[in-house]
């Protein structure tokens, strides 16, 4: 994948190409979902 995020916990998350091709709004939504996942994992 050509775009990836370094999450606050240091995890590197690649962004799927079909998300990237939709543009910044889709990428922001994907990132927000990843943050929600981390929050849920942190509370487990």
């Amino acid at each position: 994948m050509a775009v990836r995020y370094i999450m606050p916990n240091g995890e590197v998350v690649p962004v799927p190409q079909d998300v990237v091709s939709q543009g910044p709004a889709a990428e922001q939504s994907f990132y927000d979902n990843q943050m929600a996942r981390l929050a849920a994992e942190g509370s487990e």
């Binding site: 050509a2 990836r4 709004a25």
Partner: protein, 345 residues
């Protein structure tokens, strides 16, 4: 009487493709602000249909042209997000850098948000884009676009980013310029090359006249496809890269011992000859967070001693003696793709 087509107004958009060569038409939020009218070289053909001459000394009628492709060159400026970077706030040239073989890594820790770009392994991970150039009332669309870029700064001004892009060409059509809505705010100016802190190893005392970074990525290997139904051009395969930074600066006192650089002295002749010790090479353009950019040798984590001086030329600027240095960027291992990084922070 109809009005003529003019070059007074133009538009340029680029959108990353999900699958190579599959059109992903740029919308009003995919504009790229360019310095001048895109320089379009389209259409071109793998086969122009010429058939040579006749026994009578005339030219034979040609057959149809096949394998339609094209190129476009645009010049632009680095304009940062102007606000804290996020998944949806990026430097303005994000898409064009990514189709030049750079991967983008975003990190959004509060107060230090950034986007960093570094060479990416291919071919599966390489990104392509559909690129639309609106010139003279006509739309020139390219799909499966790859490119390469240069950064040129000839004085204490705004560095110019030049992109050379090739792709599979659509037929040219009449089209009104799309009303791009994502251009940077007009009060978000590009950074200028002032106080650039050029670093060559430990040498920081240079009086720098200019710099010119060339990514040097090969991108022109065409893929002919005789099975193609409507177009016998299947796109391009990028090749290797050879990033270099050419710097013109005033000559200084020569450093007399290895590693041939101190804070105020430099010996480019010995540094180019003795390639044993690589050095850090870096520069910054702009100082305002979320507007500036940085270029350094090494991975995105931090600048590293991965630059080598490839060549030194004795040059002059009027009566002033200068050096023109050509600095190369090298990976940390034989498998790494970390020879340089461009950072927007």
């Amino acid at each position: 009487m109809s009005a003529p087509k003019t070059r007074n107004k133009w538009g340029f958009g680029a959108k990353i493709e999900s699958t190579y060569g599959t059109v992903n038409a740029p919308t009003a939020t995919d504009g790229v602000l360019t310095l001048e009218v895109p320089e379009v070289d389209q259409p071109q053909f793998l086969n122009d249909g010429d058939r040579g001459v006749t026994p009578g000394g005339a030219s034979r009628p040609g057959v149809n042209q096949s394998g339609r492709w094209g190129g476009v060159r645009v010049s632009s400026e680095w304009i940062g997000g102007g606000a804290a970077y996020s998944a949806s706030v990026k430097p303005h040239l994000d898409v064009l850098k990514r189709i030049c073989g750079l991967e983008a890594t975003g990190s959004f820790t509060g107060g230090s948000e950034n986007w960093k770009y570094a060479p990416e392994a291919g071919p599966a991970s390489l990104e392509s884009a559909t690129v639309d150039a609106y010139v003279g009332g006509q739309l020139y669309r390219l799909t499966g676009c790859y490119g390469t870029f240069e950064i040129t700064c000839d004085g204490p001004g705004v560095p110019r980013w030049d992109f050379d892009i090739v792709g599979i060409a659509d037929v040219v059509t009449d089209a009104a310029i799309l009303a791009f809505s994502n251009y940077p705010a007009i009060n978000n100016p590009p950074p200028k090359a002032e106080n650039i802190a050029l670093t060559i190893g430990t040498f920081t005392g240079g009086k720098v006249r200019s710099f010119h970074f060339v990514e040097g990525r090969e991108k022109d290997q065409a893929r002919a496809d005789l099975n193609g139904v409507s177009n016998q051009h299947a796109g391009f395969t990028p090749g290797s890269r050879s990033p270099t930074l050419e710097v013109v600066l005033e000559r200084t006192t020569l450093a007399t011992v290895a590693p041939w650089h101190t804070a105020t002295t430099l010996n480019p002749y010995r540094l180019a000859e003795d390639r044993a010790a690589s050095f850090i090479c870096s520069l910054n353009v702009g100082s305002v967070q979320y507007k500036r950019f940085k270029l350094w040798s090494g991975p995105i984590a931090a600048a590293a001693a991965q630059a080598q001086l490839l060549d030194v030329q004795d040059t002059n600027e009027g009566p002033t003696k200068t050096w023109t240095l050509t600095i190369g960027f090298r990976p940390s291992t034989y498998l790494a793709e970390d020879e340089f990084a461009i950072v927007g922070d």
